[in-house]
């Protein structure tokens, strides 16, 4: 255990210092982003969402690509479930633990629901996950800071050891992204991954944008599966030269419930 931990810290430290590993993803300096922002702010209209400073990780989900390859989303979900020891409760809506999952367009974007929409929006299942908001209402609600914004990259993280299980964050999240361990999840884990902690009962959990993998220079598990098809793009939203920004500059994207004012970091191309 100790040697493993040392190895992990070494890799993470080295990656951080040298900026190697996945420099495009875990960029630790943000001067360029700061400079570009100052320019943007001058022309910002009233109510326009201002980007946070520093590295802010985000994701673009290209539903056109997922619709072309229906099995791809299942594979991405399976990869996440495996990496994070997510328990599987068959046909049990009550106990479900979901980090990334599938839902119809009408449920993912209830505020944007319309009668006449594209075939794809009618049929293809959409990917749903935590939005890692810039202004997360779950973080505001948590009475113990067990859920928090990681200042170095904008990820909304969870401390499973501090959470008291009051579930205020679940009531606060406008995206239904949080799950609670109503009972001991460990007997329901299909394949155990020793690299990531299992959870105890009585705590809340959700997608962590694979913070543990980023530290090792890896990409999020779902992105690793879906990126070759171009279905998911992950990177620093504040870096104008990042791949994700290039996609966002080119394509028109939508976000879930922007009226909630939480400033999500996940964008959808529909």
């Amino acid at each position: 255990m100790d040697t493993k931990r040392r190895k992990f810290l070494k890799i993470a430290g080295a990656a951080a210092l040298a900026g190697i590993g996945a420099p495009a993803i875990v960029k630790l300096t943000s001067s360029a982003a700061l400079a570009s922002e100052a320019v943007q702010h001058e022309t910002a209209a009233h109510g326009e969402v201002a980007a946070a400073t520093g590295v802010r990780l985000g994701m673009v989900i290209d539903m056109r690509k997922f619709a072309e390859q229906p099995e791809l989303l299942d594979q991405a979900i399976a990869a996440c479930n495996k990496v994070h020891n997510i328990p599987h409760f068959p046909n049990d809506r009550k106990n479900e633990i979901k980090w990334i999952w599938k839902a119809p367009y009408a449920n993912v974007f209830p505020e944007l629901e319309s009668i006449h929409k594209s075939e794809m929006a009618k049929k293809a299942p959409f990917a749903v996950l935590c939005n890692h908001c810039d202004n997360p209402s779950c973080v505001k609600a948590c009475p113990t800071k067990a859920t928090f914004v990681q200042p170095e990259n904008g990820i909304v993280g969870m401390d499973f050891h501090r959470c008291i299980g009051c579930r205020f964050c679940m009531a606060a999240c406008p995206y239904g992204a949080r799950s609670f361990n109503w009972q001991d999840p460990r007997p329901f884990i299909d394949t155990y991954n020793a690299e990531f902690p299992t959870r105890m009962r009585g705590v809340v959990e959700k997608c962590n944008f694979c913070g543990e993998r980023l530290a090792l220079g890896l990409e999020p598990a779902c992105v690793e599966v879906a990126k070759s098809a171009g279905a998911m793009v992950f990177g620093d939203l504040n870096d104008p030269d990042s791949e994700i920004r290039k996609v966002l500059d080119k394509e028109f994207t939508i976000q879930r419930n922007p009226a909630a004012g939480t400033k999500p970091s996940v964008y959808y191309i529909v």
Binding site: S137, I164, C173, W182, V203
Partner: protein, 391 residues
């Protein structure tokens, strides 16, 4: 004064034994829940708060309702409440203890409860709720005890206690305001995201608390030879009427906003609560009987009270029936519908209904029984002191 709880008639001991039985059942159910987890409840990923939090919300109101006795007596020097003001303070104590027990029962990791203090987080409304609930509990313990001790010695209470009495008045308002803020500041829940929640909570509290005090007075009149006085009871019914009517008015305003604007999010929860929500070919309506029952109870109770005022009759039985009807209607409104309805539909526009389990109901009844047990002991002391002074 504590020795007064040790002497009583057989009805007193029978009542305590009945409550004790329910407490034991509740404790056994809690042990089961503690061993297995909250999976023993009917709560789910979609309806993540259930009976515990809804009872907590309602009981904060009952605690705040004591204000309707303290305020007239101490601020307006309304002498008729002299005998019963202590009942309001003692009711607040037992209601707040129930609130704290319900919160503990609801925690997934109860042993970590102190994290709320170790990692105090002022931007969380739960932190402030803890502060005002404990503050109000301690204030009521202090004021109640000091004033009752003075009464027993037949001297005026010390002057300094009035400072705490006056502090307790805004505290009573704050406990229910902050409890409303737990709900009305959440961006994704349309039913709760309404500025009228806090005033509505207060209005319903100022009817529910005094209703319970009237019921307690009637019970003690029959079994403990305690007479609160006709004038005090009549004044309380007036307070209850105003508060319950204001609560109904506020609720109807919610209906107007939802159904006139026809914004789906503002209508869905009301539709679910009162008419049943149709979703994917299935009608979800398990709270409809409770909400219409509450409506019927509320108007019947108000009708009885209004009849008594208009025809100038006074009958303890009618007062009791009306108070009980109004109390139960407010309980169904806030202690069931408000919390459960807010989760339907969920942020993904899906519908999951909540049905509490037997184990969960057992814990809930156990906590209510504990509260009434404490309330009985406190009222025994208060009435005992009263009798001692009279003789």
């Amino acid at each position: 004064m504590i020795e007064k709880v040790l002497k009583g008639k057989s009805t007193y001991w029978m009542w305590l034994a009945v409550l004790g039985t329910f407490i034991a059942i509740g404790a056994a159910c809690y042990v089961r829940q503690y061993m297995f987890g909250l999976g023993l409840t009917g709560m789910s990923r979609d309806v993540s708060w259930g009976l515990y939090i809804s009872q907590f919300t309602f009981l904060v109101g009952v605690a705040a309702g004591g204000l309707m006795l303290v305020l007239p007596y101490y601020v307006h020097d309304y002498k008729a409440f002299g005998k019963i003001t202590i009942l309001g303070e003692f009711l607040a104590i037992s209601a707040l203890i129930m609130c704290l027990m319900f919160i503990m029962a609801d925690l997934g990791q109860p042993l970590r409860g102190l994290n709320v203090i170790f990692f105090a987080t002022p931007h969380s409304m739960l932190f402030w709720d803890m502060c005002v609930l404990w503050g109000y509990l301690l204030l009521n313990c202090l004021c109640g005890w000091v004033i009752l001790t003075a009464e027993r010695k037949q001297v005026h209470p010390p002057k300094w206690i009035y400072l705490f009495v006056y502090i307790s008045i805004p505290f009573a308002v704050s406990i229910h305001t902050v409890t409303a803020m737990l709900y009305c500041g959440l961006p994704g829940r349309h039913f709760w995201l309404s500025a009228i929640i806090a005033p509505r909570f207060l209005a319903s509290a100022f009817a529910a608390g005094p209703s319970l005090i009237i019921l307690a007075c009637l019970v003690m009149r029959k079994f403990a030879n305690f007479d609160a006085g006709k004038e005090a009871i009549q004044k309380l019914t007036t307070i209850i009427m105003y508060a319950a009517i204001i609560n109904t008015f506020f609720f109807l305003l919610e209906f107007f906003v939802g159904y006139y604007s026809e914004m789906p999010g503002h209508m869905h929860s009301l539709e679910y609560l009162f008419f049943g929500l149709e979703h994917d070919g299935h009608v979800y309506n398990n709270l409809v009987p409770f909400m219409w029952g509450a409506t019927l109870f509320s108007f019947t109770g108000l009708g009885i009270l209004a009849y008594m005022k208009i025809s100038k009759v006074f009958d303890y039985r009618l007062v009791g029936v009306a108070s009980a009807l109004i109390f139960f209607s407010l309980w169904a409104d806030k202690g069931l519908g408000f919390v459960f309805g807010g989760f339907v539909p969920n942020p993904l526009n899906e519908v999951t209904e909540y049905i509490p389990t037997a184990n969960e109901i057992g814990i809930t009844i156990g906590i209510w029984a504990t509260g009434f047990f404490i309330l009985t002991l406190l009222y025994k002391i208060a009435v005992g002191v009263e009798h001692e002074v009279e003789s």
